[in-house]
């Protein structure tokens, strides 16, 4: 998955424009609520077969933190 495709995926999850999803953007500014966290956990599991624990996801601060698990 290219960086653009990853950002597209996140744009869907957060229901935001891709322009708002630069890697350095703080998650709190784009609606980092319980639904968004579950969406990211599900995306990592279904598309990358990766498990993100509750403790790990609560450490996420920026868009880059999510991009890092999309490998």
């Amino acid at each position: 998955m290219t960086q653009d495709e990853k950002i597209d995926t996140l744009a869907e999850i957060f229901d935001r424009d891709v322009a708002e999803l630069r890697p350095d953007v703080e998650l709190d500014e784009i609606g980092w609520d319980s639904m968004a966290m579950l969406s990211v956990i599900a995306m990592a599991k279904t598309r990358f077969n990766k498990k993100i624990t509750g403790a790990q996801i609560r450490e996420f601060k920026t868009v880059q933190d999510i991009l890092n698990v999309m490998e």
């Binding site: 229901d15 319980s34 579950l38 599991k45 279904t46 624990t53 509750g54 996801i57 609560r58």
Partner: protein
């Protein structure tokens, strides 16, 4: 399986939630949870009241006579009193014989599966012939007004299921599971419900595949033999993810909590009743049932329609 259910009269819809939690939209709540409205018990309405109404509906609609019952079990985590046992109160209110046995058991989202296993055990051992299995919850009474994630998901309700000799014969083998190290993930402390959504979600994704495999082996079945999967209706997003991760066909995987929300131990019997009303259950079908959640506790079985 003879089943009836009841929901409280008061409805909390997404429009009302959006009025309180301004940064959410009705569409977003619907898309993620698959819930458009949920029912909320009145301040003077208890899980015992809901269980009583569900049982009376079962008697009325399915022609069950209360004096034909010789055992009553109630699955609840919102009992009317610390003591006495709510099932004893219901024996009297419902007019079951005083020769009937009655007990409460405390489980949440896995409760219906455990209830089926206990009822089957009583029937097969000859200890009882006709069992009224009641599931009833009023979780909304535990939810703090500012806790939007649980307030969005949970709804109150009760279901009544009759397990007699004919029904017990159609309940297959069980797979159980317990992991009390996750007790804190979903807990009522100081009167308030607290849920670690991400961890509950991960727990479910972990245990569903191996529980599916285990219950298939125990019933000498393969995945292709299952006509329908009726899992605990936690929320649509979780169910969709479970379905995708396990590669289950959409048309065999039931999702419907639009007007009820997550009613905890009653979601599976409510789903079975809805499926029957929609004409989707045919004699001979194999239906896998699975419950998972608070405890942490899980269980599964396969029933034959």
């Amino acid at each position: 399986m003879k089943i009836a259910y009841e929901l409280p009269a008061t409805v909390l819809d997404n429009a009302e939630l959006v009025r309180v939690y301004a940064d959410w939209t009705e569409d977003k709540i619907w898309d993620k949870t698959g819930i458009s409205s949920r029912h909320v018990a009145a301040s003077d309405e208890t899980a015992v009241d809901l269980a009583e109404r569900a049982a009376r509906r079962l008697f009325r609609e399915q022609g069950v006579a209360p004096d034909s019952l010789d055992f009553l079990m109630l699955c609840t985590q919102s009992p009317a009193y610390r003591l006495p046992t709510s099932a004893c109160i219901l024996q009297d209110r419902l007019g079951l014989p005083t020769t009937a046995g009655a007990l409460d058991f405390n489980l949440g989202c896995s409760g219906f599966i455990y209830g089926l296993s206990l009822a089957k055990g009583l029937v097969c051992s000859g200890a009882a012939k006709s069992i009224l299995l009641l599931t009833a919850e009023t979780y909304t009474k535990y939810i703090a007004s500012e806790d939007r994630s649980t307030r969005t998901i949970f709804g109150d309700g009760a279901a009544a299921t009759l397990i007699d000799e004919a029904t017990a014969a159609k309940i297959g083998a069980f797979s159980f599971g317990t992991d009390g190290s996750g007790a804190e993930r979903l807990i009522v402390r100081d009167g308030h419900l607290s849920m670690d959504g991400p961890e509950i979600f991960n727990f479910t994704l972990d245990i569903v595949p191996r529980t599916m495999e285990d219950v298939l082996v125990k019933n000498n079945l393969s995945q292709g033999d299952i006509d329908l999967y009726v899992f605990h209706q936690a929320n649509k997003f979780m169910l969709d993810t479970i379905r995708k991760v396990n590669g289950l066909p959409r048309d065999k995987f039931y999702v419907n909590l639009e007007t009820t929300g997550n009613t905890v131990s009653s979601t599976i019997p409510i789903a079975l009743r809805q499926l029957e009303a929609d004409g989707r259950l045919q004699a001979g079908m194999k239906v896998m049932l699975m419950g998972f959640g608070v405890g942490l506790s899980w269980g599964a079985t396969v029933i034959t329609i």
